[in-house]
């Protein structure tokens, strides 16, 4: 017969699982942050015109230019949202609407120099928001 009570074993298992969950959440926070910062730099380079290799050549290159700008911002938004969400979860607080709104505005603010990029990014961000709303636990 075991000398350790069953309740204690259960507690230890629960603690180990929580630690493993925390570790996983922290890893996700770090990886998501790194990815979002990479896309932020891509967005900075293209949306401010520091790099304009695809602009003003022909229509196809213009489309590629717009797509790079939009995708960079949307992925920045998505990964930063995942990162902040997991960070908040690790600290035991929910992701508030203030953080959500700030991230939305800062993402959209990156598009101010190009109206087409602004419109497409705005639609993209709304789609991401609707998707996140639908997949969350009710």
């Amino acid at each position: 017969m075991s000398k350790i009570p069953k309740v204690q074993i259960k507690d230890q298992k629960s603690k180990t699982r929580r630690r493993s969950d925390d570790k996983f959440a922290y890893r996700t926070v770090v990886i998501s942050t790194v990815l979002s910062l990479i896309f932020f730099v891509v967005s900075l380079l293209f949306n401010t015109g520091i790099i304009s290799i695809f602009a003003d050549i022909n229509l196809i290159f213009d489309i590629i230019d717009v797509l790079i700008k939009v995708i960079a911002i949307l992925l920045f938004f998505l990964f930063m949202l995942i990162s902040i969400g997991n960070y908040k979860e690790t600290t035991g607080k929910p992701l508030g609407w203030k953080e959500f709104l700030l991230l939305f505005i800062l993402s959209l603010g990156q598009t101010l120099l190009n109206f087409i990029v602004f419109i497409i990014t705005f639609i993209g961000l709304l789609i991401v928001l609707v998707y996140l709303y639908l997949v969350q636990d009710t």
């Binding site: 942050t33 401010t48 800062l106 990156q110 101010l112």
Partner: protein, 266 residues
């Protein structure tokens, strides 16, 4: 850990600053300098800058070198004229009594010599008494020919040790009334201007210092658009800076979170 956090934040702010700064550097590297004519109230072309009535207040004010001669170059426009002021700051003894400043105007943004077909010159006949002539030439194969009708205005005055030259050049004039001998400046186009300085009234032989610049002529409605573009650029820089700074702060928080988690585990 706190040290690492601050280093990361400082690093991110520095990278952000450098990237944003490069926005201003890349466009100006290696090319002929381009200036935008800002809108403003027409100044009186008399060789005198009257601060009491805010003359040239809204002009784009720049410093350039004519070869090795530093000058102040002010550029402004209204609906019907382009205004240029050149100010040469020299020791009094270095001013020649018959010095001049000329604007050689290309018929496009081309900087080829044969495309400079128009010249407006303010030629001092005696700088000490502020006597000058305004000359309007048509350039044909480097030969300066007097225009049948002079257009625009020009004036010069020695103010202390600064000789001030003012020019007014018509914009969007029809190709009649003798304007065929002038470069027609049109809205929305960029033109090359050769700013020339000399000491003897002989053209082009008397030109001893010069510099080619580009000037964009705006439509009156473009003024607002230009202002909007500048505001949007500033806002974009602010947004990217905020994201950069907040990211730095967030990274510090992530480091702190790791510390906290390790403390809880032990």
């Amino acid at each position: 850990m706190k040290k690492i956090g601050y280093s990361t934040l400082s690093g991110i702010i520095l990278i952000n600053f450098l990237l944003v700064s490069s926005l201003f550097v890349i466009k100006s590297f290696g090319a002929t300098e381009e200036f935008d004519a800002t809108f403003g109230e027409a100044p009186i072309i008399d060789g005198k800058i009257d601060d009491s009535i805010d003359e040239w207040k809204t002009a784009s004010k720049n410093s350039i070198n004519l070869t090795d001669l530093p000058i102040d170059l002010w550029i402004m426009q209204d609906k019907s004229n382009l205004f240029i002021s050149v100010q040469v700051d020299l020791e009094l003894s270095a001013h020649n009594s018959t010095e001049f400043v000329g604007l050689l105007i290309s018929n496009s943004s081309s900087e080829n010599q044969e495309d400079f077909t128009d010249a407006k010159i303010v030629q001092f006949t005696n700088i000490q008494t502020n006597d000058f002539d305004y000359l309007d030439y048509y350039i044909n194969n480097s030969e300066f020919l007097n225009d049948t009708n002079y257009h625009g205005e020009g004036a010069g005055k020695l103010d202390g040790k600064v000789s001030v030259y003012e020019f007014s050049i018509p914009i969007n004039q029809p190709l009649t009334n003798g304007y065929e001998e002038d470069t027609l400046l049109e809205y929305g186009e960029i033109y090359a201007f050769n700013i020339s300085y000399g000491k003897t009234p002989s053209y082009p032989d008397g030109i001893i210092k010069s510099e080619i610049i580009l000037i964009e002529i705006f439509e009156p409605s473009e003024e607002e658009q230009f202002l909007i573009d500048v505001i949007l650029l500033v806002l974009t820089i602010i947004v990217f800076s905020i994201v950069g700074i907040l990211s730095g702060y967030y990274i510090i928080k992530i480091f702190k979170l790791k510390e906290k988690m390790e403390r809880l585990r032990s």
